[in-house]
């Protein structure tokens, strides 16, 4: 047996002797790694699936010619297709619409109009596959439609008798086969059919180009001289956009998942600190026999690393299984919305797995660092006499203030690459600094209490008061997990409150109407005659028309929404963050959402260039910034009259209706549908919503987005409570002689258990108070730094005091209950006999 194996044998003997304690530490690492890895795998699988779907739909062109806003004239196609450097040119018209499923619910559907004769060279996955019995030329039939697997699953062609109606268009289409494109629900039609159905005659969304081998791409583009309103796009742009769109949400969710690992590190610390304390005589003997301080440190570090390796291996396996289950049950979207509607296959990448394994090992080693230091520092001779140094030495007094100061400094660092990369370490420093200050906090709070005359209380209070570092070991995990849970609770509560207030401002009307299929890239216009009819309805007192157009300002970013609406009193119409600046003479006003202001630098007092449909660009003066939780990529509000003047567009896509006194919404809804039918439109062509329904839908989406957060909070709290139980149980074992003495002195079993419960309750109370303070501090970082830097929106801080109090109460009660369970071993017969020393 070598020296190393002999020392490791001691470690394994310790594990066998305390299997539950070891299992607790390993389990904490397992859970932390599993959650982090699962979230990572789900997001990566979803992104891969999305990328594959986009590549299948978009094909593999060398270039794409796209409209900067809306569509462009198909005349460009003729010129491009005949260019000698172009090997293949595929015209595409994309329309976002919806169809009704068997239950009458809307199913979003992307309709892609293609020329099947040229499509195969560029996007073979999009080539329509006629069904058995169909003419093979059906793919050229403008009345035929071909669905992908997701669309077939949601719309069930057989139940529909083989035909499909699309909202925003007239007539029905024959379902003639399928396409092999993966991803969300999609339909392919002949391009002429789409142009006719959606009144886009002579219009295209893009042209996909394959150049001849060896063609000079730049020379080609220079010669092409694209008209205004058409730009060159790289084929991978769509995936990059979704990647950018979802990156902040994915990063935040991954960091959140690491909360469990962070809490797990504290559990490892608690377990190893007590293990080292119990093994002091053993370590002291090894020291006397020649094991140097650095070697004792290395031994404990090696032990924690082994715990990490074991926990990480099991955690990766569990995380992969969780990811597979989640992908099967939830699809690829964990609440951010970017991957809704796709069903990705599990894709585990080795690099990600290695990273999370290393994080798990790192967390374990971090948890073992301080106990390892204690093992190195003990004086062997003194320890053998039982006069060893404090089992859990206090950190130097400068550690806590330094960490807290570092947290404050990091909180003021701006976003790095559009992510709050400095804010996360700020949160970690806050938590670590708070826990380092826990002994001081215990002394400060409990030091004020007078010595008790109640014997069990005296014993418990004095122990916690004079050995605060041991109390720190017990409650460090609960402080961290409670602080993080409170921070998330406050952040989610603040967001919800702010969103509800925002909805109050942006939904002042009684009913909202828009064309079905709106919400995608294009917002269909409502027929002017229909708007007139609606305004004349007896139940309608007032109508406001809005136009929402999606405009591409930066090709690397998703389009922004331009909202043209009456803005005679912008402070009343928009949730402005501050009073609008005076409008300089000759300027046209615009109001930038927070996201727009952040992403495009459009602060109040600056100018923004807006591309208009038709190609020209207009310069607008930004008067104010407004809060918008609906459009993460930015929105620009402009007075409707200015839009009409600049864009020559008087159409409306949305209507806000104020009802006449006494008019019921049910009757007005019926009148609206009748008005649509009178105009020859399908009644389902209108989407009608009441503010209460919009509010309920918004809250449902919001709650789903944060459902994962709630689960992660609960797991972190669970790990923290587990930590209390594990460390208390270990302490009970270590203090058997002390408890035996209490029994000899006449403490009843209940009183001995009461001492343990009182100690855990006292430590937990101080820990909970500190956890609340830390949690509120972390919530300020989340609300004021992480959210704005991640999602470009702000919110008002709102502390849900009743929920917070309930959470703290539940944690304290659980800590006391955990203490009671751990104390069962404190009053048994074996503790009575433990006082005996047989020489």
């Amino acid at each position: 047996m070598t020296r190393a194996t002999a020392l490791l044998a001691l470690v394994f003997a310790e594990w066998r002797h305390h299997p539950w304690r070891t299992a607790a530490a390993v389990t904490a690492i397992v859970l932390g790694v599993a959650l982090g890895h699962a979230v990572h795998v789900i997001n990566a699988s979803a992104l891969d699936e999305f990328d594959a779907a986009v590549r299948a739909v978009n094909g593999t062109p060398d270039l794409e010619l796209r409209a900067a806003a809306g569509t462009f004239d198909e005349a460009l196609y003729g010129r491009v297709a005949l260019d000698p450097l172009v090997a293949a040119a595929s015209p595409v018209l994309e329309v976002e619409t919806a169809a009704l499923d068997a239950n009458g619910a809307r199913v979003p559907l992307s309709v892609v109009g293609v020329d099947a004769l040229v499509l195969a060279a560029i996007a073979p996955a999009l080539v329509p596959q006629p069904a058995r019995g169909e003419d093979r030329l059906a793919l050229l039939d403008p009345h035929a439609i071909f669905l992908n697997a997701q669309a077939e699953r949601r719309l069930d062609p057989r139940a529909r008798g083989g035909s499909l109606r699309l909202l925003g268009s007239e007539g029905a289409w024959r379902i003639a086969g399928h396409v092999n494109a993966p991803g969300p629900a999609l339909a392919v039609m002949d391009i002429a059919g789409v142009q006719a159905a959606f009144s886009r005659a002579g219009q295209l969304s893009r042209i996909d180009l394959r150049l001849v081998p060896g063609a000079d791409r730049d020379a080609f583009l220079r010669r092409l001289a694209l008209p205004a309103g058409v730009r060159v796009a790289e084929p991978g742009e769509a995936t990059e956009r979704v990647d950018a769109m979802s990156r902040a949400y994915r990063v935040n969710l991954s960091v959140l998942a690491l909360v469990a690992l962070f809490t797990g590190a504290f559990l490892v610390y608690a377990v190893l600190a007590l293990s080292v304390a119990q093994r002091q005589p053993q370590l002291a003997l090894l020291g006397v026999l020649g094991l140097a301080a650095r070697e004792r440190l290395a031994l404990v570090i090696a032990e924690s690393a082994l715990l990490g390796v074991l926990g990480s291996a099991l955690g990766l396996a569990l995380g992969t299984a969780l990811a597979a289950l989640a992908l099967r049950e939830l699809g690829g979207d964990l609440g951010g919305g970017a991957f809704a509607g796709i069903a990705p296959a599990l894709h585990v990448e080795p690099v990600g797995a290695v990273v999370y394994a290393l994080l798990g090992i790192g967390a374990a080693v971090l948890g073992g660092a301080w106990p390892a230091r204690a093992a190195a520092r003990l004086a062997p001779a003194q320890a053998l006499k039982g006069l060893g140094a404090d089992a859990a030495p206090r950190p130097p007094p400068w550690v806590a203030p330094l960490l807290l100061a570092l947290a404050l400094a990091l909180a003021f660092v701006p976003a790095i690459d559009d992510l709050p990369l400095a804010a996360y370490p700020a949160v970690a420093c806050l938590l670590l600094g708070g826990i380092a200050a826990l002994p001081v906090a215990i002394e400060a709070v409990l030091g004020r209490l007078p010595a008790s005359r109640h014997a069990p209380t005296l014993v418990a209070l004095e122990r916690v008061r004079h050995a605060p570092q041991l109390a720190t070991v017990t409650v460090a995990g609960i402080v961290a997990s409670l602080a993080l849970s409170i921070a998330l609770m406050v952040m989610v509560g603040s967001f919800r409150t702010s969103m509800l207030r925002w909805l109050d401002v942006v939904l002042p009307a009684d009913l909202y109407v828009r064309a079905a299929g709106a919400g995608g890239r294009d917002a269909p216009a409502l027929p002017p005659a229909l708007i007139e009819r609606i305004a004349a309805l007896p139940g309608v007192a007032r109508v406001e028309a809005l136009r929402v157009a999606n405009v591409e300002i930066d090709p690397a970013r998703p389009p922004v929404a331009v909202i043209a609406r009456p803005l005679d009193d912008p402070s009343a119409r928009l949730p402005l963050l501050a009073a609008p600046l005076p409008l300089p003479a000759g300027e046209t006003a615009a109001y930038a959402s927070e996201a727009f202001a952040d992403l495009y630098g459009a602060r109040p007092g600056t100018h923004v260039e807006l591309p208009l449909p038709g190609g020209e660009r207009v310069r607008l003066f930004v008067r104010a910034t407004w809060r918008d939780y609906a459009r993460q990529h930015g929105a620009l509000a402009i007075d409707r009259r200015d839009w009409e003047r600049l864009a020559h567009d008087a159409s409306a896509s949305d209507l806000a209706l104020w009802l006449a006194p006494g008019a019921g919404t049910g009757i007005v809804r019926a009148e609206l549908r009748a008005a649509a039918r009178a105009q020859g439109l399908d009644a389902a062509a209108l989407e009608i919503a009441e503010p209460a329904a919009i509010r309920a839908t918004s809250l449902r989406i919001f709650d789903r987005s944060f459902a994962v957060t709630v689960w992660l909070e609960a797991i972190a709290i669970g790990i923290g409570l587990f930590g209390i139980g594990a460390s208390l149980s270990a302490q009970v074992l270590a203090r058997r002689k002390e408890f035996g003495l209490l029994a000899h002195l006449g403490f009843t079993c209940a009183q001995v258990r009461g001492v343990v419960v009182a100690e855990s309750a006292l430590a937990a109370a101080v820990g909970a108070a500190l956890g609340v303070l830390l949690g509120l501090a972390v919530s300020v970082v989340l609300v004021k730094v992480v959210n704005p830097q991640s999602f470009h929106w702000t919110m008002d801080l709102a502390v849900p005091w009743p929920s917070l109090a309930a959470l703290v109460g539940a944690v304290l009660a659980s800590a006391a209950a955990t203490g009671w369970a751990a104390a069962r071993g404190a009053a048994g017969r074996s503790t009575v006999l433990a006082v005996k020393e047989d020489w």
Partner: protein, 219 residues
Amino acid sequence: MALLEVEALAKRYGDVTVFERVSLALERGEFVAILGESGVGKSTLLNCVAALDRWDAGRIRLDGTDLGGLDERAQAHLRRTELGFVFQAFHVLPHLTVAQNVALPLLLQDRPDAARVQDVLAAVGLGSLAERLPRTLSGGQLQRVAIARAVVHRPPLILADEPTGNLDPRTAERVLALLREQVRSESAACLLATHSRAAAAQADRVVTLTPGGIVEGGA
């Protein structure tokens, strides 16, 4: 009636008999040493007398009370009011001051008495160390704290289990003398378990515990 009456006591752990047919009587104020080799069951006998361990045969009466019929709470009450303990390994609570350690038996009976605590500490020579924590005291000082704690509540019976086992001979002699002096001054009886003849010499009477029972006199 004797203060302590042990009649034909037997203790077994499974098939192993620790002792049997142990009979012993202790009068008030009497200092009796129980001699015996290590492992013969001296501590077990003391634990039985303290109702901390169960026995398999026989009877124990303390001040007229049959210990066999007491429930756990009554046993705890008995230890609180009728007994004082001194251990080989001192066993003072590390996070209580010297005064708080000594006061514990009084606090358990809801009879705080700071003056009594101070008197007892002075009597054992630790009056100036009342506010010190145990880790700053020597072994001899710690054992004096234990003695003070054992007598502070004036129990009729002190049980001392190898009280000098961790002390050097000179300190051991002083501690034993102190124990004897305190026992006498408080009019308590004392049952001292020891394997040291020198320690046993301090007692009024010496008995020897053997597996087969008690033998009067040193073995």
